[in-house]
Amino acid sequence: MLTRFGNWLDERMGWRAVWEAIFLRKVPKVNWFYTLGSATLFVAVNQAVTGILLTIYYVPTPDHAYDSVQYITTQVAGGWLIRGLHHWGASVMVVLVVLHMLRVIIYGAYKYPREVTWMTGVVLLLVVIGFGFTGYLLPWDQKSYWATTVGTRIAGVVPFLGDWILRIMRGGNDLSAVTLARFFGAHVWVLPATLLLLVGTHLFLVIRNGISEIPKREARKQ
């Protein structure tokens, strides 16, 4: 029954070819460090799922942000778990992304023909940091308020453009409702859209080019 339905769909979608390209592709014999990318993807999905759930209650305005987060954590069934997964997942995400990058550097996996995979990966690292930076403000407590005050001030030390960058990030001279709203917008719309596009490209290239072998010491020339 299930096989027949699978056949019916395959005839119209060709999904088996896609499935085989993704999951049944040939890979060289590698080690556990090669799972860091998949681990990152898993945590990214965790962030998306828990993040979507958080938006059901979270309200990004100064008069509601803190209270709505407290409501999620203390009143909603499982709210502590959803928020906890998102909170800790954010840190795990940064750690995994950096480890994944180190593995690619150390094994030289960024070399021809995988340069574009590497470049999208570099931008993805920036996107992940952007997620961390914008998400940190959203609980709107003392820590997030002052961290963002400092963070935007750091961006403000760029020569010539600094003041301008700071004002654009804050949406004015000071941290305000405008800042919170634009950080929220960046966190749930701009960055996810960018991430989706880049992860799509990144994974397509991983599958298209195949993954690199562990570099071997070349036999010494006679």
Partner: protein, 161 residues
């Protein structure tokens, strides 16, 4: 007959089932808390009932519904709202009181007493109730909701919640 024969399972099959089982567990691990998280506020019990003071018994006119308005605070999510509660109180003898909600039982619009006609009227879909709150015409499915009442020190109270 053949049940003693050992069923061989290939490495590939074993991995397939293990991955499917792990995936299922992870799915449940997220899915069950997520459902609870989404439906929780809908299942929360409404707040405890409380007696609300409407005002002096002497304010209720004999034989005519009298409108009382009181402010109550109600917690929704993380917000405490001040809401105005409007109640029509009717007494025929000055001792027994009927307190009726001004919420139309059809779709929740606010009804009002039309003194000329001696009826309550709902502007949304022309629902009409008589003085006692019984449906006269229009779409309302049942009479107006009534509150339990009590009188203490010549003050009228209703039980809300």
């Amino acid at each position: 007959m053949e049940h003693s024969e050992k069923k061989e399972i290939s490495r590939r099959e074993f991995m397939k089932y293990t991955i499917a089982a792990l995936g299922g567990l992870i799915g449940l691990g997220y899915g069950i808390p997520a459902i609870g998280y989404v439906v929780a506020p809908a299942l929360a019990k409404s707040q405890a009932q409380q007696w609300i003071q409407l005002g002096a018994v002497s304010k209720v006119e004999l034989g005519t519904p009298t409108l009382f308005k009181v402010n109550i605070s109600r917690q929704t999510g993380w917000i405490v709202n001040q809401e105005e509660l409007s109640v029509y109180v009717l007494t025929e003898n000055g001792r027994d009181f009927v307190a009726m909600s001004n919420v139309c039982t059809h779709l929740g619009c606010r009804i009002r007493w039309i003194a000329d006609q001696g009826q309550y009227y709902c502007p949304c879909h022309n629902g009409v109730y008589d003085k006692q709150g019984n449906v006269v015409s229009g779409p309302p499915p049942r009479p107006l909701d009534k509150y339990q009442t009590k009188v203490e020190n010549d003050q009228l109270f209703i039980l809300e919640g």
